[in-house]
């Protein structure tokens, strides 16, 4: 029985045996992790061939997550997008409030199959951490989440959520104290505890096979959305838009549209205070090929290969790397990647809230800001599909400070 929701790439566009998408990917890991990473790859291949795995995952995605997620047309918002039609894929309506749960449930099932009692994960905005803590509660797994110290402060609500779910949250004080450093610390934990621990990697980066596995678990986003847009509008969209940090929600949306060469795939990266300012996380715009966290991709680095500290108002996009498949899409020309500043994203966040009654995550607001531009470029005949990857509850503290929403407070930006 074919699965409705677990749809690993049927086109054979998997990476090469060594884990490469074109020139990007691979497996640059310490020898101590090779056996564990190979075990994950082997277990995933077995799971793909096992109808019981797909059936169990389908059941979870429908009855626990709430799939399929809705497709919402946002007409009042679209008035600001040159009159183009704008449709939102509502991953924010999934259980736990973002797309992250798709991958987490899949990997949690893999963890069970491997017989490992403990899960570790990194998190930036806390969405992957919350989803992981949720799955661990559901399956009775021990859970430790690594989170940069700066992110534990700006996403304090999600720290409380993870702890409520029974997870241990470890603030990471090294390096830039953000997502990159959380991943470093998670790798250090994994090396020491690999026998009983699965590293539930949260994005389409990392060593092979993680870029492939995480992508496959998120492909459902684009498969559903493509069908929904066709039903709703009678045709394919002109462009599909998503924010990119590591790139998981974007690859999940893009992948089903890869063969549709008339559909533009546009990723929006965090430009922070502007690419020219040097304070940004626009890896594909301003980075160069290098190795970070186990794979070759674009990275923000200096002339001697030291990783430079990224910046974004969005904790989930504040990362100096990017998944290798995105690097390949960029170099092959199939994907387009553009920078969106903090201010553009925050304006889009407020606009969607006020015109549609939907408060997006700051991450997703980068895609919304990009969609406003895409709509204006396409004009009234255009259709733009945007992945609303997460909801904004977690960001209310940051937004309140930014806009001065609390009584007696002045906004940082008006």
């Amino acid at each position: 029985m074919p699965s409705d929701y677990f749809i690993p790439d049927p086109e054979g566009q998997s990476p090469s045996a060594a884990g490469y998408f074109g020139a990007f990917g691979g497996k640059f890991i310490p020898e101590a992790l090779v056996a564990a990473v190979d075990e994950v790859a082997a277990e995933y291949e077995k799971a793909k061939a096992d109808p019981a795995f797909a059936a169990e995952l389908d059941d979870l995605l429908v009855n626990y997550t709430g799939r399929p997620s809705a497709l919402t047309e946002v007409t009042r918002f679209a008035e600001h997008a040159g009159g183009a039609r704008v449709l939102l894929k509502r991953e924010d309506l999934n259980h736990t409030g973002s797309h992250k749960i798709n991958n987490v449930l899949g990997q949690a099932l893999l963890t069970k199959r491997m017989g490992k009692p403990r899960v570790i994960a990194e998190t930036g905005a806390g969405q992957h951490g919350v989803a992981t803590a949720t799955a661990c509660a559901l399956f009775g797994l021990e859970c430790t989440i690594y989170m940069g110290e700066i992110d534990t402060e700006r996403q304090a609500l999600n720290v409380a959520r993870m702890r409520m779910l029974g997870a241990e949250v470890v603030p990471v004080a090294s390096g830039s104290r953000t997502l990159k450093d959380a991943i470093n610390e998670a790798f250090r934990d994994w090396v020491a505890n690999v026998e009983r621990t699965h590293y539930l990697f949260g994005t389409v980066a990392g060593p092979h096979p993680f870029p492939q596995i995480v992508r496959d678990f998120h492909r459902v986003i684009g498969v559903e959305a493509r069908r929904q847009v066709l039903e709703r509008t009678g045709r394919l969209p002109d462009a599909v838009a998503a924010c990119v940090g590591g790139g998981s929600n974007a690859i999940g949306l893009f992948h089903a549209f890869l063969p549709d060469t008339g559909v533009r795939l546009v990723g929006f990266e965090a430009a922070g205070h502007g690419v020219a300012s040097g304070e940004h996380a626009a890896t594909l715009t301003a980075g160069e090929p290098g190795i970070l966290h186990g794979s070759r991709s674009y990275v923000l680095q200096d002339d001697e290969g030291q990783i430079t500290e990224p910046y974004s108002i969005s904790a989930g996009l504040d990362y100096p790397g990017i998944g290798p498949e995105h690097a390949h899409l960029k170099d092959s020309g199939r994907g387009e990647y553009r920078p969106v500043t903090d201010d553009q994203a925050m304006r889009a966040l407020r606009l969607l809230s006020e015109t549609e009654g939907i408060i997006p995550a700051i991450e997703s607001a980068h895609a919304l800001a990009g969609a406003l531009d895409l709509g204006r470029e396409l004009g009234p005949e255009g259709i733009v599909l945007v992945n609303l990857s997460g909801r904004g509850d977690k960001d209310m503290d940051t937004a309140a400070r930014y806009f001065g929403l609390l009584d007696g407070a002045e906004g940082e930006r008006a």
Partner: protein, 290 residues
């Protein structure tokens, strides 16, 4: 700090009989390990990052290790994201990078420590800085500085061919790390590709001192020996002469890093730190001779 790299170090004096066309000192490394074996003892291999606490201080410390009992020194090329290192070496790397250490400074550290002692000096680092600098360029410049080879723990054997060609051309060794989790077939593949020695990680974990060195290390060394005649040196967690003696009983070399770094971190002055690392090197050298 020396700012930007200016050309190669080809004009530097080697300090020893380093006159082969290939330049690098892999043979010196082989000889040092053979000499220890001939003396019926394990070799002592020390590690310190370049640029820590300063570039000149790091050179003095590496030289002190070699003068006080280390047979080989590994000079760390600090990286912003040292995922295989525990808090002690992370802290040292951060100090070095905040001090502005550059690859030219690392090469100068290799050159001066080798020139002062005539002993083999390796570089240990992560793959991205070497890849970014250019594997060929890095190998040539390291060889010209009198370096003996490189240890790149996040460059697995499958991805290593380009580097190994560059290293071999430059007369440098490539030391691979193996772990207790490495299966026998992989061990054979890795040791066939490596040169100099095999770095056997004593346990599953990052760098740092440990209370004890487990039985895993002995078992791993035995499995490695069944695949290669290369010397097998054991690292991770060794910090005192008792542990060094314990490891020396079954391995060809004992690798000590964090314990040296910690002595320098904890010292009030560089001079006091140098005294501490000299004492530790001497104690460990006694340990590997028990």
């Amino acid at each position: 700090m020396s700012g930007h790299t200016e050309g190669t170090d080809a004009g530097a004096s080697g300090g020893t009989g380093n006159s082969g066309a290939a330049g690098g000192n892999v043979r010196l490394l082989d000889e040092a390990l053979a000499q220890a074996r001939a003396e019926n003892r394990a070799a002592l291999v020390g590690y310190l990052p370049a640029g820590f606490p300063t570039v000149d201080g790091g050179i003095a410390a590496c030289t002190a290790l070699l003068e006080s009992g280390c047979d080989v020194v590994e000079v760390g090329l600090p990286h912003s994201d040292p995922v295989m290192d525990g808090p002690v070496i992370q802290t040292a790397d951060t100090i070095a990078l905040e001090g502005g250490v550059r690859i030219a400074d690392v090469l100068r550290t290799v050159r001066e420590a080798h020139a002062a002692t005539g002993k083999p000096v390796l570089v240990m680092t992560y793959w991205n800085p070497v890849d970014r600098y250019g594997a060929g360029r890095f190998a040539e410049e390291l060889a010209a500085a009198g370096g003996a080879g490189c240890i790149l723990p996040d460059l697995p054997v499958e991805e290593s061919e380009g580097w190994r060609k560059a290293a071999e051309h430059a007369g440098l060794g490539t030391v691979f790390v193996v772990a207790p989790s490495s299966q026998d077939a992989r061990l054979a593949r890795i040791t066939a590709a490596g040169s100099g020695f095999v770095y056997a990680a004593s346990l599953m974990g990052v760098t740092g001192t440990r209370e004890s060195v487990g039985a895993e290390a002995r078992e791993l060394v035995e499995r490695v020996r069944s695949t290669t005649d290369l010397p097998v040196c054991v690292g991770l967690g060794v910090s005192n002469p008792v542990q060094a003696a314990e490891v020396a009983a079954f391995a060809d070399g004992v690798i000590v890093g964090s314990a040296f770094v910690k002595r320098l971190l904890d010292a009030d002055t560089l001079a006091a730190g140098l005294d501490e690392v000299r004492q530790l090197a001497a104690d460990l050298a006694e340990g590997v001779r028990r």
